[in-house]
Amino acid sequence: MDALLARLQGLYESFYNAIVPEQRYMAYVNGLKITLIISLFAVLLGVAIGVVVAVIKVCKDHTKSRLVHILAKICDLYITVIRGTPLMVQLLIIYNLIFTSRDTSPILVGTVCFGINSGAYVAEIVRAGINAVDVGQMEAGRSLGFTWLKTMWYIVLPQAIKNILPALGNEFIVLIKETSVASVIAVNDLTKNAQYIGSRTWDLIPPLIIAAVIYLIIVIGLSKLLKLFERRLAKGDRH
């Protein structure tokens, strides 16, 4: 019995040490902030890239323009490379090779890298969304005199995006978890800060568990929000 109590006491102390002294909880808060900032901007960048790539790929099937066909080839290459190589390797390459300047913010590098990575996955989601919009919509737009691109922008894309919002939300959740890899390029995100606290207290497990719990809470919360959102959207469709 005493042994068990001592164990519990020890456990309490190690978690206490991982949180309270030297305002260590602020390290989690700051880390979480950076994690969320990177995820948010990366998802925005990813959606922007994804939409452009998807539109180019869809356009390819409807035009003889050489430029579009060349761009579509580049997009294919981009998607193949990004989806075919590990995220961590991409991150290290971009950090060490492309952003060589000393004062490049690792947060910026992280955001750009995750955005580029996410774009490849989002592109396929958007493309599926565009293809799911009835062809009559494109025809109606064209018959009024809109160009292909303007019809895409004003008529097809808004409907496609609405259909794929749940999938995009999912991508955001995946991204939040993946940003933990950013610690390898010295970004002080949630994971990195947890490791740092572990190195201060000589006890690595408690801060990592705390970080895991924080990730879990964020992801569960976001999933719940998404479900709510999806239900709202579905209601809008039925009227």
Binding site: G136, Q137, A140, S143, G145, F146, D237, H239
Partner: protein
Amino acid sequence: MIVTKQLRKSFGNHEVLKGIDQHIEKGEKVVVIGPSGSGKSTFLRCLNLLEEPTGGEVWFEGVQITDPKNNINSMRQKMGMVFQQFNLFPHLSVMDNITLAPRKLKGVSAEEAREKAVELLRRIGLEEKAESYPNQLSGGQKQRIAIIRALAMDPDVMLFDEPTSALDPEMVGEVLELMKELAREGMTMVVVTHEMGFAKEVANRVLFMDEGIVKEENTPEEFFGAPNHPRLKEFLSKVL
């Protein structure tokens, strides 16, 4: 106004249009009938190049629109089109459906486009639906709004691709009534339809298409009263 010269269209190895020569004059109402698969919808869709012809020429108001040098998008602004499946934009309100093209393509101000839309909506008695969304409307209402959406661009010709085929029977009348009204006002119209009554009443000229060619064309009186071609006689005996 619209001239086609040896218009041809193939899908793969299947030749749907086998050389159509037509002159459609300003103010004329041409009704195209024929069995399904005869190419009548394809013919209509070639007139504004929704289908790209594989041979021949299409001229509109003296411009060869099949020539890639000519800007098809600006030509299409003068050619309204109405589809079987309405194709209203479901993410936009009725008002935005009507005003989108005039605002974005002709640079009409928002207020001006609105005023015109309200006027058009009033004409079909649906002004209270301005802020509704398409999926809150009946089929007949959708199709009438699709028609005034096309009219909002002030087209010189209106193309109708089986406008009543997807409607419940009791809603066909309201759509045909609006089309007749347009006809009376002198709109140039090309209508692909199965509504023989409409053809008899409104058309200046009826075309019978079968197997990718126009097998017979005539005034509605002659066309329905004294058909010549055996295929047309057979067709009419089935549908009338």
